[in-house]
């Protein structure tokens, strides 16, 4: 493979589409992933995230659109011509080669004769140098996953693609690997594009998340941004949980809007309003609610008349289901730090929350 000019820079997808017969897997996708960042493509199965990844890797051809790294158009380039490496979901380690040869595979194909140093270095990075003469079949799932990563990283690609690499690991190992992956990414400085359906995983590891649904990006931004200010119902429900209550804008009051919410009046900061019409879906995250029994001094917005219908203990927190007078059940998380009152099923409660934690979407938003 001739490397006249080193290909590097931001990854840019320009109106990329992919159709399989009648089915549109990726629909006119455009995005820029800055060099050196940890980027997550998040979405449910079938949303097109894996197809997008495969198009970046060169394992799938786009039906239309362009893919560029920096100034170089790689749309027509074959997979083995791209400075892009993939960590596959089931690792895809070559069963007939030793760990050492697996890791050295890409280096050898590029004509590099002396592979020892590079391979040893990356095996030390994943702390598995002692397994270099074993075969993949003799390794555990977690070890295979780290070797798959080493095999990709050793080539110092412009882009490292990860296709749900932690899916097959148990929870504890997954958490550990999430931290390790993030650390490795900062160590080697390569752009990571991580595909996952696990929103917690995306939020912990990525600098930027793009939430995909039905072949399109619904919203893109930092984890905090997406979480606190979702622009669609889908994003609001995919990242964490949300309560949605229908309301109407009544008046404007300086920086806030006055919204009529099932008979009560609440304040909505204009900066938190993403709706275009006056009929709104008001979103409040469960952990933002506070529960009060009667007779307390309340700050912020509040809704009266709730009755507790269910209590679930989660260790760190307690989840309450509260039925409101208009027959909607709202979800409330209270941290078990002694701050919440002692409540039981059937108790009457009032909900309060700080206005800046509200987000509003169009009343007919999906």
């Amino acid at each position: 493979m001739s490397e006249k000019k080193k290909v590097e820079g931001d990854l840019r997808l320009d109106q990329v589409s992919k159709t399989f017969g009648d089915f549109v897997a990726v629909d006119d996708l455009s995005l820029v992933i800055p060099k050196g960042s940890f980027f997550a493509l998040l979405g449910p199965s079938g949303c097109g995230k894996t197809t997008t990844l495969r198009m970046i890797a060169g394992l799938e051809e786009p039906s239309s659109g362009k893919i560029l790294i920096g100034d170089t158009d790689i749309t027509e380039a074959k997979a083995y011509e791209r400075p892009v490496n993939t960590v596959f979901q089931n690792y895809a380690l070559f069963p007939h080669l030793t760990i050492f040869e697996n890791v050295a595979f890409g280096l050898r194909r590029r004509g590099i004769k002396d592979v020892n140093e590079a391979v040893e270095k990356v095996l030390n990075l994943v702390e598995l140098a002692h397994l270099k003469n074993r075969k993949p079949g003799q390794l555990s799932g977690g070890q295979q996953q780290r070797i798959a990563l080493a095999r990709a990283v050793v080539n110092r690609p412009a882009l490292l693609l990860l296709d749900e690499p932690l899916g097959a690991l148990d929870l504890k190992l997954r958490r550990q690997m999430q931290i390790e992956l993030k650390w490795i990414q900062t160590e080697v400085g390569i752009t990571f594009v991580h595909v996952t359906h696990d929103q917690e995983e995306a939020m912990t590891m990525a600098d930027t998340i793009a939430v995909m649904n039905n072949g399109r990006i619904e919203q893109m931004g930092s984890p905090a941004d997406l979480y606190e200010n979702p622009r669609t119902v889908f994003v609001a429900n995919f990242l964490g949980q949300s309560n949605f209550i229908d309301g109407e804008v009544e008046a404007s009051d300086g920086e806030n809007l006055v919204v009529s919410l099932k008979g009560s009046k609440i304040a909505l900061p204009k900066s938190r309003n993403n709706a275009k019409s006056s009929s709104l879906k008001l979103g409040i995250r469960p952990e933002k609610f506070r529960l009060h029994t009667a007779d307390e001094k309340l700050t912020g917005n509040f809704l009266k008349g709730g009755v507790i219908t269910d209590i679930s203990f989660f260790g760190v927190s307690t989840q309450y289901l509260v039925e409101m007078p208009w027959k909607q059940e709202l979800m409330v998380f209270e941290q078990n730090d002694g701050g919440a009152p002692d409540l039981e099923k059937g108790d009457a409660v009032t909900l309060s929350w700080e206005p800046q934690f509200t987000f509003a979407l169009d009343g007919d938003a999906k």
Binding site: A57, G58, Y80, N85, T86, A92, K135, N155
Partner: protein, 262 residues
């Protein structure tokens, strides 16, 4: 005791069945040591003379040589042709699958008399007749199907993601085949080649129809059976058996070794 019996009855049966299967083979081996010239039917005494003079009976080693000529040629050709078909069937979606499957399957289901007779008929019609080349052609024909079946099973169990990983790691199409696909399919191809050779070497009916004056080893045994099969034939039979067993067991040891390595 009764419980032990009912639990192990089937095992005892299996052992008996296997003994039944091996019986004629053991007989063949035993009678290779028989002190008899032609009429090798009654035990007359132990001797190594047949083993020491394997080519003594007229025509036996020539027949054996012919069997090898045919076998090796047919094995190489049918393995190549059959492997290609197996890859096509196992990896690609193409129109005409059903017809292809049928065309591959039918030779295995056709009685050998019909295969042999039809080929001889055609060769006579186009003035080629019988001989070494028709036999080789016939053997290639019936071996292809068996090669396809054996290799296809192996191709189907090959994870396509491995080839994608190779391409992702800078291997072009040829390098991918050479370094990933082929090594992983090779055991299946080897098994297919072995099977093809065994089928070719042991074939009688089709060969008999198409060989004319040429003799292969099974044909030698057949004609000899009328007047008396010499113990040298048993020697060759025994050797075949032992070598084949050795190859199979070696294959199993090698495949075990491939899975693990320190």
């Amino acid at each position: 005791m009764k419980h032990w019996l009912s639990k192990n009855l089937i095992r005892i049966y299996a052992a008996a069945a296997i003994f039944y299967i091996l019986l004629p083979i053991l007989y063949t081996v035993a009678f290779s040591f028989n002190d008899a010239d032609k009429r090798n039917i009654v035990w007359q005494g132990f001797t190594l003379s047949a083993w020491l003079n394997p080519c003594e009976p007229i025509g036996i080693c020539e027949a054996l040589g012919n069997s090898f000529k045919v076998g090796i040629t047919a094995t190489i050709a049918s393995t190549i042709l059959g492997t290609m078909i197996a890859f096509a069937l196992g990896r690609y979606n193409f129109r005409g699958r059903a017809t292809t499957n049928l065309l591959i399957f039918l030779p295995m289901a056709t009685p050998e008399v019909v295969l042999g007779a039809s080929l001889l008929s055609m060769f006579i019609n186009i003035q080629i007749g019988a001989g070494l080349v028709p036999v080789i052609i016939a053997h290639i024909m019936f071996c292809i199907s068996f090669v396809v079946v054996t290799v296809k099973a192996r191709v189907a169990s090959l994870d396509p993601k491995l080839e994608e990983a190779a391409r992702d790691l800078y291997a072009n199409e040829w390098e991918t085949f050479r370094r990933v696909t082929f090594p992983l399919v090779a055991p299946g191809i080897a098994a297919a080649a072995l099977l093809a050779f065994a089928l070719s070497f042991d074939d009688f009916i089709i060969t008999n129809f198409n060989s004319g004056t040429l003799n292969t080893f099974p044909e030698y045994v057949w004609t000899a059976s009328l007047r008396g099969v010499p113990p040298q034939a048993n020697v060759i039979g025994t050797l075949m058996f032992v070598i084949a067993l050795a190859i199979v067991f070696a294959g199993q040891v090698i495949s075990k070794r491939r899975q693990t390595r320190r």
